[in-house]
């Protein structure tokens, strides 16, 4: 019984009389009271700002290598110290956010769209379409994200010096999308199957509504929430995957700045100069954590029973 409490007790209705309260509004109401939500939002805002506008955080040029001050420990001039090339670690960590955030957000969006469409088609139409689509999903699902990513990325001609930044990022996004959509598709399919037998869907069919209309106004709004939540949580995973690919030298490669690249570089001297590894790893973990916390908070708001 405890778990149904949150759904059950509506905010005291006194001031709400006559006011329309949609489920989304109710979810927002409960989100607003959630500290975790605000912590994650603050962190994410900070990271997004770093990605969009890194010079807001640091005036130091991340590409300026001060050969005289290599592997400095944190000090007044370089608050995070400098790395093996004499780059300022603070500046590189700030600028590194861009790659991670872009890859994370773009991949989440593309997997949501691809997986969402596939899942809706499979779940809504059923029958042989579902059988075929679900088997294809299963095949992709069986390939581990990283292994697939490594094989796929390695097959691209790799010439980092001449390829524009966005193309490299695009390649990473594409790779992660190809191996990341099946989880969303499966989730979406199962939530569509859950929504479809509801009598309001039957009622719409009885009124003669077209399949497109049924999907748009009945299925999608009611089946989307879990996929959005999982996409948010996955976002952290994609950031990790990008860092891993970069760490392995097949994602982003220098001169591109990214946390993965920085972690990879730092390993050379990890025993003697651990601070070089510490800061990019810390930021990476914080970013991942922030998105996972956000996902959790949103899920709780939409589906308080899962608490």
């Amino acid at each position: 019984m405890t778990d149904s409490l949150a759904v059950s007790v509506q905010p005291t209705a006194g001031e709400d009389v006559g006011e329309a309260r949609s489920l989304a509004q109710d979810a927002w109401r409960s989100l607003r009271k959630n500290k975790i939500f605000w912590i994650s939002v603050t962190l994410i805002t900070a990271f997004v700002l770093m990605a969009v506008w890194p010079s807001l955080f640091t005036r130091t040029d991340p590409t300026f290598g001060d050969i005289n001050n290599v592997r400095d420990t944190p000090s007044g001039a370089h608050i995070f110290g400098t790395d093996g090339q004499g780059y300022d670690i603070f500046a590189r960590t700030i600028y590194g956010a861009r790659a991670s955030i872009i890859v994370g957000i773009l991949t989440s969006l593309t997997t949501l769209i691809v997986g969402g469409v596939v899942g809706i088609v499979a779940g809504f139409y059923g029958g042989w379409i579902d059988a075929v689509v679900s088997r294809i999903t299963d095949i992709f699902f069986a390939i581990p994200l990283l292994l697939g990513g490594i094989l796929f990325m390695a097959s691209f001609p790799n010439n980092p010096q001449s390829t524009p930044y966005l193309v490299i990022v695009g390649k990473v996004v594409l790779t992660l999308t190809i191996f990341g959509w099946p989880s969303i598709a499966r989730l979406m399919r199962s939530s569509v199957l859950q929504v479809k037998p509801n009598e309001y869907v039957l009622a719409a069919r009885a009124l003669g509504a077209s399949p497109l209309r049924i999907i748009r106004s009945h299925i999608l709004p009611n089946a989307l929430a879990p996929a959005i939540v999982v996409s948010t949580i996955n976002l952290g995973g994609f950031i990790v995957a990008e860092a891993t690919l970069s760490f392995l030298g097949i994602g982003l490669t220098p001169p591109a700045i990214s946390w993965g690249v920085a972690i990879s570089d730092a390993l050379v001297a990890v025993r003697t100069y651990p601070h070089i590894l510490l800061f990019p790893s810390l930021f990476l973990s914080l970013a991942v954590l922030a998105f996972i916390l956000l996902g959790d908070a949103v899920r709780d708001a939409f589906d308080p029973k899962s608490r």
Partner: protein, 408 residues
């Protein structure tokens, strides 16, 4: 018989059972297995039966939400199943449905205005765009809800109010026939009467014909002009309310009637109880001959072989349709005619307006409805806002091959 609006002829709906590695068809669930009847204009035909008898499937097949395996439905002179595309869409204006569960029959993400207005959007030529809001408000008023609540969401209403919203959506296009699939069985007893009275009022005002599907024999008796009793996908008895309740000839109808408790302790022990043994057989593997012979107290060897037809058989006074080889009338309930008895309106009202929707003060607001209903969950009422679990009558009536996936 001139004024038949809907005529079902030999309807069958079989669901394949898939099994094995290759998902080949290994059997058939015979949900509806040869049902014929006709519905007169302006009348209420009640359809009763226990779970798994196929009554809900019948409703869906009549609505063409499911395609029948075979059989025809003639709706107002048109063969319903041969209509395609736009002709079928047009036909849907004339035949609508109200569902059982007021909690799943309304899209939780739409306002009441959107829900009741959806019929107008799907059939844009019925009401011009500018008049739709007014149309929705008129409908709200017609079902006894406050038209100002047009922007509220379903979870802000109680079960009874939500069922009114479902009815408003059903009558929006002014259909000729309304199929009501257990419309009151999910409601609390004190609210049932409000909705039944509303449906009777709407029938008078709009000249509707109802097919009223329910498991509650008392409710069906109250609202129906004629009644059909279903067992394992078949109609076993069909007659007027009086014929079915006062001189039933089919042993299943008799057993069903005798099992209904009457809210009068003085009747205790004085009523004849026919206790049926065993369970309803699976519709995937119905018994040979008469479907009821495995539980019938009158069964003879003949019944295992001969499949009795639903034809007119004498009932003592006249005759009505019954599918029993040994049909004979038997009085199960002594009926009291209370048509002339006035209701004591000091305690309850015959009004169809939902008083509550208009009483905006004193802490009993419809905005609370959700919290009242859900409050009952808080306090651990196992049945939650519904006094009947929503799916009790759908155990087999639902498409058996499709199970809900567990939530991820």
């Amino acid at each position: 018989m001139a004024d038949v609006i809907l005529k079902a002829d030999n309807l069958y709906k079989h669901y394949p059972i898939k099994g094995g590695v290759l998902r080949t068809t290994t059997g058939q669930v015979k949900a509806v297995d040869g049902v014929s009847f006709e519905l007169q204009r302006g009348e209420t035909l009640g359809i009763v039966g226990e779970s798994g008898c196929g009554k809900s499937t019948l409703g869906r097949v009549l609505m063409r939400l499911e395609e029948p395996t075979s059989g025809t439905v003639n709706f107002d002179g048109v063969d319903m199943y041969s209509q395609s595309g736009s002709a079928m869409r047009k036909l849907r204006r004339d035949i609508q449905i109200v569902f059982q569960d007021p909690y799943t029959s309304l899209n939780p993400r739409k306002t009441v205005g959107d829900i009741i207005g959806e019929p107008f959007e799907i059939h844009p030529d019925v009401v011009p765009k500018g008049g739709r809001k007014k149309g929705v408000q008129e409908l709200l008023e017609m079902v006894g809800l406050n038209p100002e609540h047009i922007n509220r969401y379903p979870h802000q209403f109680s079960g009874g109010q939500r069922q009114r919203i479902g009815i408003a959506r059903g009558i929006a296009l002014r259909p000729k026939v309304l199929i009501c699939d257990e419309p009151v069985s999910a409601l609390d007893v004190s609210v049932q009467a409000q909705v039944i009275n509303l449906m009777e009022k709407l029938q008078d005002e709009l000249g509707l014909s109802y097919i009223f599907i329910a498991h509650d024999l008392s409710v069906v008796r109250h609202i129906s002009d004629r009644v059909g009793v279903m067992y394992l996908g078949r109609m076993v008895e069909l007659g007027t309310e009086e014929q079915i309740y006062q001189r039933p000839t089919h042993p299943y109808t008799q057993a069903l009637l005798s099992a209904v408790p009457v809210p009068d302790p003085l009747m205790r022990g004085k009523r004849e109880q026919i206790v049926l043994t065993g369970d309803v057989p699976s519709p995937a593997n119905p018994p040979s001959g008469c479907r009821f012979h495995t539980r019938c107290f009158k069964a003879q060897d003949r019944c295992k072989v001969d499949d009795p037809e639903l034809i007119d058989r004498p009932d003592g006074v006249g005759e009505h349709r019954s599918a029993c080889l040994f049909a004979e009338p038997r009085v199960i309930v002594e009926t009291v005619d209370v048509s002339d008895v006035e209701v004591d309106t000091r305690f309850a009202s015959t009004d169809v307006v939902d008083l509550d929707a208009f009483a905006e003060d004193d802490g009993l607001l419809p905005a609370d409805a959700a919290s009242v209903a859900q409050g009952s969950q808080v306090v651990g009422e196992t049945e939650g806002p519904l006094d009947r679990p929503a799916d009790t009558n759908r155990l087999i009536d639902d498409e058996p091959t499709e199970q809900r996936d567990p939530r991820v």
